[in-house]
């Protein structure tokens, strides 16, 4: 009788163990499926295939990003080279980057000395916002929202995917893994990418995805979740009025502002409570510094 009891216990224990192991396996599979689905959603089937055949390592990514950033700085009139402005934008940016999807990238943030209202990013972790945009903002959550949107582009490798697609069609596709180091091929690829980027911007779907990722990041770090939406609302009013010269480039390279606001409203509704930090004093102090910034005059040759 006792023996039968022990054997029954043993069978039950084995059964439980089997069931448990099976459950763990299934749980792992479900998690993997969700992850895979997310990756497919993020990159798209065709893009994922291109990524598989033409992987871009961090050194190559940073090289493209650095070169693109130089072009951005050149095109937008240089940087607001003021320590207070630089320090503030980097504190905000690093607070976001700490919790980004690619937190180990060497992230860098700067304000472009341009009256244009825009923000841009480049692969490898370079993020820019124009002085024109900074001066329109009314609280810190709006600036953090714009930076988070740009971080979203880098996290999701949006520009890099476009570069990969161009690379697949170029002579680089037939070359060795380090063929991108050929300065002529590197230059041709970037010229093509930048021509399209400054004319049309990133794909519309990438902009919507960066809005969603950015707003998610904003909430994750603890800023007021509607920061990006609020800034887009300000921009929408500018577009409707007489500020076309400062918003023209932005409008040309982004989806309709009203559509973006509408999608963000849906996302915020799903969050429910999106309260958070939205300081105004720190932003105002930095806006004053940026407003009074005067670039250093070009160095003049000393007469002999």
């Amino acid at each position: 009788m006792n023996r039968r009891h022990f054997v029954a216990n043993l069978s039950a224990a084995l059964g439980l163990l089997g069931l448990f192991t099976c459950s763990c396996g299934m749980l792992g599979q479900v998690t993997q499926d969700v992850t895979d689905a997310g990756q497919k959603l993020a990159f798209g089937g065709a893009k994922a295939a291109a990524a598989a055949t033409l992987p871009i390592g961090i050194e190559e990514e940073v090289s493209y990003g650095g070169a693109i950033s130089v072009m951005v700085v050149q095109r937008y009139g240089g940087l607001v080279d003021d320590p207070a402005v630089h320090g503030y934008i980097n504190l905000l940016g690093q607070a976001l980057a700490l919790h980004a999807q690619r937190p180990n990238l060497a992230w860098h943030f700067a304000v472009l000395d341009s009256p244009q209202v825009n923000a841009l990013s480049a692969p490898g972790g370079y993020v820019f916002v124009t002085k024109g945009a900074l001066l329109q903002m009314t609280d810190e959550a709006q600036l953090a929202g714009v930076l988070a949107h740009e971080i979203g582009h880098v996290d999701a490798r949006h520009a890099l995917e476009s570069i990969k697609a161009l690379k697949a069609k170029s002579a680089l596709a037939q070359g060795a893994a380090d063929a991108w180091k050929d300065s002529a091929l590197f230059g041709q690829l970037l010229d093509t990418y930048l021509g399209d980027f400054f004319e049309h911007g990133l794909p519309v779907a990438a902009e919507f995805e960066a809005d969603a990722l950015g707003t998610g990041l904003l909430m994750r770090v603890g800023w007021y979740g509607a920061g990006l939406r609020d800034f887009l609302a300000i921009l929408g009013k500018m577009e409707a009025q007489a500020d076309k010269p400062t918003t023209a480039q932005f409008e040309k390279t982004h989806p309709k502002t009203a559509d973006r606001i509408s999608k963000l409203e849906e996302q915020l509704k799903r969050f429910g409570d999106f309260s958070g930090s939205r300081d105004e004093a720190r932003l105002r102090a930095v806006q004053a510094k940026a407003r009074s910034f005067k670039p250093a005059p070009p160095a003049q040759a000393i007469a002999p």
């Binding site: 224990a13 130089v70 700085v73 990238l105 590197f186």
Partner: protein, 166 residues
């Protein structure tokens, strides 16, 4: 007979131990770094600092926090939002704070001061954009220390210091 019972009991016990071991849940740090503290309060003493991708064994699951065992063997609390059930990809782990390992294995730049790569410099030079290249290199040299960042996040109620989290 008695001996046989003991043997069966031993086997059952061992299987249960294996099952308990398999049940232990591991979570992975999903931020650049996070602090594990003695209690759930953001003012509590730090038990350990964990980095992106570190695996932590869960001891207790309580509200928005997990009590975890950190790599140094100590036990402390971490907010759930700073960990994930899945480990980050190898690519993500390789993007170690701005360090780039070239073919020869030498780290050629460090976080905050890496400078433009030769390819980017050559591109800038080919377009006569020397001033813009210098501006980007200056932008890269700017560093925010972990202490400055923590002070800012504390003042702005962000991250571990966000309102109502702790």
């Amino acid at each position: 007979m008695h001996r046989q019972h003991r043997r069966i009991a031993l086997i059952t016990g061992s299987l249960l131990l294996i099952a308990v071991g398999a049940w232990a849940r591991t979570v992975y740090v999903n931020t650049r770094y996070a602090k594990v503290r003695e209690s759930q309060a953001s003012t509590a003493a730090q038990v350990g600092k964990v980095d992106f991708g570190d695996g932590l064994t869960v001891v207790t699951d309580q509200g928005g926090f997990l009590q975890v065992s950190v790599p140094n063997g100590k036990v402390g609390w971490i907010a759930k939002m700073w960990v994930s059930d899945t480990a980050p990809s190898k690519d993500g782990l390789a993007e170690k704070a701005g360090q780039s390992v070239r073919a020869g294995g030498t780290v050629t730049y460090t976080a905050g001061a890496r400078g433009l790569t030769d390819e980017a410099k050559t591109y800038a030079s080919s377009k006569s954009m020397g001033d813009a290249a210098a501006a980007v290199e200056k932008m890269e040299k700017f560093q925010v220390t972990d202490e400055d960042l923590e002070q800012f996040m504390r003042a702005a109620h962000l991250g571990d210091f966000r309102g109502g989290q702790r």
